[in-house]
Subunit: 164 residues, 2 copies
DNA sequence: TGCTTATTTGCAAGTCATGCGAACAATGCT
DNA sequence: AGCATTGTTCGCATGACTTGCAAATAAGCA
């Protein structure tokens, strides 16, 4: 996502108005790597601007995504998460914490996939499910070859609806 | 998913009862490659057994997934789809029709991914988004190299809630 | 056949999102 | 600055998809 100033310009160019709510949300999303849900962002925004409406958060996020400034990301059956990173990238989800990380994969084209006849791929999304080992060493992330346990994918549980 | 007879045995072994509803649903899911939603399966089941409850369909599907006979599959923000294929495989979604196809990828381990430090991958899920070209030739699906347009991923729309 | 206990059902309730319209406020103009 | 115009915000209603619950049923067994 572009800087708040640039996004503001794009807004103006489109005849949209710059409200305090929008300014706040631009700032909160810029450089945000937490992949927040609307509710999550709303919670943060509410601290700085009590009274802001969840409806406005949804609305602004929708605008930003329509403008290509952020991306929507559905993970399992959870609430939509918003990603300020619009570069081509993928994700890793920690089964422990639910945290979501950006992952860059540089050789997607080398995948050998048995696609249906006549299927034209427009884009591929890859999600690595796993968990963060108890952080012992803190070696920086570096390219590595995936080594997924070749176990059958464990039936993941859905989880929308009541959870009381 | 195993044959209805085998699934029935597993049910009996677990002290579960064999009801007509369950038998029907076993039969409908066995070999089913349409990745139906609960509502979809309910619609089909209702024809053969008017009066069957959507609640029962959900319940039976949950049991089957808990027993590892089927898998849950979340695609974008849509309703959960149930997959009778529990082998390790992936999916392709047609943006045109929403159809979902099984895809086998044989060299996932060769992906070069920049994962967070200390992230242990348990499994990877890959979804190919694209569309089925107007079926002109009908050459059988054969292994091929993915050739995704390297365009930025188009912001996909979420779509739950009203659609009236 | 009669019991015991698992199931089925229908409805209420819950979560995440969007539709809608009235009250508000950013902009542009004078 | 004052005012009109029209885009925005906000709260509530509505909607889609699921799950919780409890009463009514019906498997499986003696």
């Amino acid at each position: 996502m572009h800087s708040p100033a640039i996004v503001a310009d794009k807004y103006r160019e489109q005849g949209r108005r710059l409200t305090p709510q929008r300014k706040l949300l631009f700032a909160l999303m810029h450089g945000n790597e937490t992949h927040p849900t609307a509710e999550g962002l709303f919670a943060v925004a509410s601290k700085r601007m009590p009274g802001i409406s969840l409806r406005t958060v949804y609305q602004t996020l929708d605008e930003l995504s329509a403008m290509g400034e952020i991306q929507l990301m559905h993970c399992d059956g959870e609430a939509v998460r918003f990603d300020s990173n619009v570069e081509e990238h993928h994700h890793a989800v920690c089964a422990e914490t639910g945290e979501l990380f950006d992952v860059y994969v540089d050789n997607i084209n080398s995948l050998r996939a048995q696609l249906p006849a006549g299927f034209e791929v427009e884009n591929v999304s890859i999600v690595f499910h796993g968990r963060l080992a108890e952080k012992k060493s803190k070696s920086p992330a570096r390219p590595q070859t995936v080594r997924a346990k070749t176990t059958k994918r464990a039936p993941r549980r859905t989880s929308r609806g009541s959870n009381k």
